[in-house]
Amino acid sequence: MTAAPAVSIKNLKIALPKGAERPYAVDGISIDLIPGEIVCVVGESGSGKSMCAHALMGLLPDTVSTETGEIAFNGGNLLKLDEDGWRDVRGRHIAMVFQEPMTALNPLMRIGDQMMEMFEAHNLLTPKERRAKALGLAREVGLPDPERIVRAYPHQLSGGQRQRAMIAMALALEPAVLVADEPTTALDVTTQAQILKLIRDLQRRRNMAVMFITHDFGVVADIADRVVVLRYGKVVEEGTAAEVLTRPQHDYTKALLAAVPSMHPPVRAPLEGREKAVEVIGLDKTYVTSGGWFKPDRSVRAANEVSFDILQGETLGLVGESGSGKSSVARLVMQLIKPDRGTVRLGDSDLTKLTGRALRIERHRIQMIFQDPFASLNPRRKVGNIISDGPIAHGTDAKVAMQRARELLGLVGLDAGAMERYPHEFSGGQRQRIGIARALALDPEIIVADEAVSALDVSVQAQVLALLEDLKARLGLSMLFITHDLRVAAQICDRIAVMQRGVIVELKPTAQLFASPEHPYTRELLAAVPGQSAPPQAA
């Protein structure tokens, strides 16, 4: 176990530019990366974990500067290297995989060429040998049809394939150290599981030291040998995965772990005999892109005969991966897009039959909470206006609406002073609360929450979920809860519908779904959720 570290970061201090919220992005961190071991660096956004990764590659932005510390590698100090020295290290000795595989690949170059650049950068091999190597790498990371893939451009690949290509590239020169910066965050859960397995396998096979940056404790549980927990640029806890996950010492770690939703659904009060709040019958929506004159049109079926209902006071979860059509269904229900066929019935009125003014009036009965707390609030309107605009549009007196907005802010846990401020002055979680207040301002019967907590850090996510549960109960709301995260769904939903390629493949009470999934896709999804296996034992 006591192999010499491949790299060791010693007392690293990275200064932020003047005027930032804290003086140091990374404040005296020391981490050893040992061959054959995966170190997970965990933290919430702004913890400085990404800075660490970039420091290791000598890729820090110009605005920050390393103040003190050492990165010991091969008997030298990486921080002392000049640009030429760094170039020699990068790729060859330390390689990196980034979070967003789409933007991390040059869109104008073929995948194979980008792989071959790895060798070219270090003047290795002949062009012909490089090509052969690239093909071999594509095969090794499990890319299907490698001959075709190396000639393809990034946009022609799926997200998972792109990340595989990135990994292939990183491994090309058999580096001693691999830095992976949230490599699976942008991926679907089933793909994430595959990529995690791939990294794990490769690391084992090549005996690499891996620094794995993530915010997700599920992932940590699946992949980590050792864990380093960061907060505000400092290490709060460090230890083997087993130790940290099962016996966290520091309060922060404990809180983080506690905030991770469990895979075991809680027991929920039965809802039989209640009236239907919403009835969705046979929704169909096909997106057609014109193919030009001589080519057939391309069409994507976003919703295919989607039917469900939500009882009063019930939360229905709609779960699926990206492209499954779950967001389209949310927008169809909200009448943000018109279905080709089908009905959305609220009590006695059929929303799909309404248009123009009549629809606008009826809209107050069903409101929506959006995914992105940064994009869902108009940056140029004050929070008070954002909340009161809706009621005013429905004829409420402006003063009354403002007063109500103040109350609602209180209800979602913000003080009334927020009325006069602009959205950018709030944190992500606070914004999401404002979004909830806006939805509640119209006294809706139903709330549609589209990935309402997906963009939030895990601790904030827990708080917002709790708030939603509380409000729902207090106000007697029904909810359509759209998420990709089965853990979240497990905690909040009464029933769950699983969507795949526009079709609801399975719809069951939550506990039943988790206990005995029937559809193969449901099973696949459940199996892919990270962090279900016991934490790996220290070797």
Binding site: E100, A104, L108, A121, Y153, M166
Partner: protein
């Protein structure tokens, strides 16, 4: 790809017809007509004379009838007859368009090559004095009225230094042949091409610089650095290529409009191109000729737009040949 081109051509023809119709009426809204102008120039204008001219130009017929016969002509690629010059419009334009294309395309090539070069240089050394100098020079050229620049250039290079001829397409009466002729034309071409070119060069310099700085921040550049690639390889292969996409788009828009836009340069340097022809036709209310120039210039715009799109599609694999 063929279907894409076919589709664009059909669309272009529709646009052209619309342009013909609009301009046909627009031009006739201007006060005065060619008969009045010619009578004025002849120093005599009895009604009989003006009436003769009107009949000769078919201006006495109702407008829709005139339009119909013009459109019929256009369909068979006949641009009509120039009232004033007593010649088919297509002949007049074809005599001139070569000069315009030579001028504008040279200017275009110079501006694009130099603009990208300087823009790249400025972006490479962003923040240095060299960058500031290039940026400042680009701004100044961008802000200089083109006719002023032209006059100053003539004064400097023709009058004071005597290096370059101040007007014309070639040395009249010199009867050069072969390479000597090419050299002669090239000598005449330098000033007008540079005058137009400097403005656009300034545009491309600024655009390339801004675009490169933007691309520099993108993730894949970080990837390239993480590979250990040399900086100039990164700049060339990753940054520049991506940064050029918006420049290509802009350049495509320019290439077309340049052709009709060289009025002033052609006037100052007596370059026998169609920009000048257009302006003269306007001043003489030579309707058919003016319309003809508009149609040809618009067609050029469409052709260059198409070429740009094709180039764009070649450079950027993300765009497929569908509309």
């Amino acid at each position: 790809m063929l279907s894409f081109v076919a589709q664009r051509i059909v669309k272009g023809v529709v646009v052209l017809l619309a342009i013909v119709v609009m301009n046909f009426f627009l031009i006739r809204l201007a006060p005065g007509d060619p008969a009045v102008v010619m009578a004025g120039e002849a120093g005599a204008s009895d009604p009989q004379f003006v009436q003769q001219l009107r009949e000769k130009f078919s201006l006495d017929k109702p407008l829709p009838e005139q339009l119909l016969s013009y459109v019929k002509g256009i369909v068979t690629l006949d641009l009509g007859f120039s009232f004033r010059q007593q010649m088919p419009v297509s002949k007049l334009i074809s005599e001139r368009i070569g000069a315009t294309l030579l001028l504008t395309l040279t200017a275009f090539a110079i501006s694009l090559v130099l603009g990208i070069f300087f823009g790249t240089l400025a972006a490479r050394f962003a923040g240095s004095w060299g960058d500031s100098a290039i940026t400042a020079a680009a701004l100044v050229f961008y802000a200089t009225p083109i006719f002023w620049l032209a006059l100053m250039a003539i004064l400097l290079f023709s009058v004071y230094l005597g290096w370059l001829p101040s007007f014309g397409y070639d040395t009249v009466g010199a009867n050069y042949t072969g390479l000597a002729y090419v050299g002669d034309v090239a000598l005449h071409l330098i000033m007008p091409a540079m005058t137009i070119g400097l403005f656009f060069m300034a545009t491309y310099t600024r655009m390339t610089r801004a675009s490169m700085l933007e691309v520099k921040r993108l993730d894949f550049v970080k990837t390239a650095r993480a590979k250990g690639l040399r900086d100039n390889v990164i700049q060339r292969r990753h940054v520049l290529r991506n940064a050029l996409l918006p420049v290509v788009t802009l350049a495509g828009v320019h290439a077309g409009t340049l052709i009709g836009g060289a009025v002033i340069t052609e006037t100052v340097y007596a370059w026998p191109g169609i920009g000048r022809l257009m302006y003269e036709a306007l001043l003489q209310r030579d309707y058919n000729l003016l319309l003809g120039v508009f149609v040809v210039c618009s067609a050029m715009v469409l052709i260059f737009n198409l070429i740009t799109d094709l180039v764009y599609r070649l450079v950027d694999p993300r765009i497929e040949f569908a509309s």
